[in-house]
């Protein structure tokens, strides 16, 4: 661990490990509205419109939209190897759990600090869902 690293406790929902550049969305996300061939968010007027979720550690408040489309959306990204590395959320519901389970994306909530204060887009973040730990390298990026 480097001195610039901040380690925060979190609550594991879907286990595993993922690391990458953080991408923060203050708005809920529907994965059906990302391009399954590129990972780019194509929902017009969305905070992340035009941004790419592939390989990122995605920080967002919650999922949205019907179960069928949400699950299929993340699954298609996974099949094209464009899924996020990990997901850090504030509010979780059944559909998001199922989506992450099927796409095998680590999913955590209840970060000990507000994730929107602790993490900014571009920081390098490691999510160790098994240990219930999120490591943020604030000097990176």
């Amino acid at each position: 661990m480097r001195s610039s690293d901040v380690v925060l406790k979190c609550h594991r929902i879907i286990g595993g490990y993922g690391e990458g550049e953080a991408l923060v969305s203050h708005e809920p996300i529907c994965f059906y509205l990302t391009d399954p061939k590129t990972g780019v968010v194509r929902e017009r007027d969305h905070e992340l419109a035009g941004k790419n979720v592939a390989g990122k550690v995605l920080v967002f408040p919650s999922g949205k939209a019907s179960s069928v489309v949400q699950i299929d959306g993340l699954f298609k990204l996974m099949m094209n190897k464009l899924a996020p590395q990990a997901m850090i959320v504030k509010d979780v519901e059944t559909v998001l759990v199922v989506s992450a389970f099927i796409a095998k994306v680590p999913l955590v909530d209840r970060l000990e600090k507000d994730p929107f204060d602790a993490i900014t887009t571009g920081s390098f973040v490691k999510v160790n869902a098994e240990k219930g730990e999120v490591t943020i390298d604030c000097n990176h990026g």
Binding site: I13, V68, T94, F101
Partner: protein
């Protein structure tokens, strides 16, 4: 979460890899909600969709040797042979996905009902039963009208519960989470099934989520009226439960509906609100190419309504007329001569399917008319008119 010894064994894979995967998913959901334990379910409804994510999960379970432990019904896919014979242009790979979905649900031992109202036909919960029912109308209907208990499930979590026979205990399994949140005072007379459709759409839109308590309803709503309210409140919103004091089982009175508490909010529904909701649903006033009924699936009573409204008249030339229903309903409608009457008029009665399936690709650039905002919401066709059944039938007969 505490698991019993048997549940631990399932999680370790001692009942096979398919059942293990189902248990892993249920434990993850339990962790998300801080559930303390698993509780038995007596039945499940998997709102199978025939999409790739759905296919992946059911095949994972079926290939891993999982079998449903409790009755588990399934949502529409589409009648592959019928549609590929009837329409040109449905992509071949869609048929392959549909075929694999049907095969996997069969292998996993689900009921091959392919219908969206299982709670009226082949998978009927009773008061107080704990179940895992996904599908927009099913969740609120079994919670509110029947008084069974289910959370808002995804197809996969419901299937997992059907396989393992348990669900994590959280949310609507607890009495205190079943109390009303918003008092909805209805200040207009609800005349028919379509008014309940508009009411559901409006309440879902205004509330988003929560448990509405509907007052001002003097006449007992019919089965179909309840079904419509349930389905449409989950198109515009996410309403997993509601109360109609005097008519739904857990709310003999308004006070009981709120479990003695004060409503968080109060809203009034006026005639103008329903009219406005109806206007919002129209994307065109132009010429209609086809009429689509049965979203959710029509009951036998509604199929008979069509026959009565047709009065022996023919569907206008160039107009297509579709009725979607369950296989069991069609069998009875055939016996009664309803199917024959609709076919003689030039219409079609189809089973196992839904507007949200790829078989309707023919209508992608067409104008459809329906009595269901849910049907128009899926946008499998270009423009939509939404009106009550009698208007849909008149338009079909007159061709405009």
């Amino acid at each position: 979460m505490h698991l019993t010894r048997e549940e631990e064994q399932i999680l370790r894979g001692e009942s096979g890899p398919g059942t293990q995967k189902a248990m892993e998913l249920l434990v993850a959901i339990g962790d998300a909600y801080d559930a303390k334990r698993m509780i038995p379910v007596s039945r499940a409804h998997a709102a199978s969709s025939g999409q790739e994510g759905d296919l992946y999960f059911v095949e994972l379970l079926a290939d891993g040797g999982a079998r449903c432990k409790v009755p588990t019904s399934t949502n529409p896919v589409y009648d592959i042979e019928y549609f590929h014979r009837t329409f040109e242009g449905i992509p071949k790979d869609e048929a392959e996905v549909a075929r694999r979905v049907k095969d996997a649900y069969r292998r996993v031992g689900a009921i091959q009902s392919w219908g969206c109202l299982p709670y009226l036909t082949e998978n009927i919960p009773l008061y107080g039963e704990t179940v895992a029912f996904s599908e927009s109308s099913a969740t609120p209907y079994v919670n509110s009208v029947v008084g069974a208990r289910t959370n808002r499930e995804a197809a996969q979590s419901a299937l997992a519960s059907g396989v393992v026979g348990v669900t994590p205990e959280y949310g609507l399994h607890f009495n205190e989470n079943r109390k009303g949140t918003v008092l909805v005072k209805i200040e207009t007379k609800l005349k028919d099934e379509f008014d309940y459709t508009l009411l559901g759409y409006h309440v879902g839109e205004v509330m988003g989520y929560g448990i509405p308590v509907l007052t001002g309803i003097s006449k007992r709503p019919s089965t179909e009226e309840f079904v419509n309210f349930c389905a449409m409140s989950n198109v515009s919103g996410a309403i997993s439960m509601f109360h109609v004091p005097g008519f739904t089982v857990e709310a003999p009175t308004v006070k009981r509906a709120f479990q003695g508490d004060i409503p968080e909010d109060r809203i009034a529904v006026l005639d103008a609100d329903l009219k406005k909701s109806c206007e919002e649903l129209q994307t065109t006033s132009g010429k209609v190419d086809f009429v689509m009924l049965g979203c959710p699936h029509y009951t036998l009573k509604q199929v008979e309504d069509i026959v009565r409204l047709l009065r022996g008249r023919k569907i206008h030339e160039g107009m297509d007329f579709w009725v979607c229903t369950a296989a069991t309903t069609k069998a009875l409608a055939e016996r009664a001569g309803f199917v024959d009457a609709i076919e003689k008029a030039g219409g079609h009665v189809v089973v196992d399917t839904c507007i949200d399936e790829p078989c309707w690709v023919k209508y992608r650039d067409k104008v459809g008319m329906t009595d269901s905002p849910k049907c128009s919401y899926y946008r499998r066709f270009k423009e939509a008119r939404v009106d009550r059944l009698s208007e849909c039938v008149e338009t079909a007969v007159k061709g405009k």
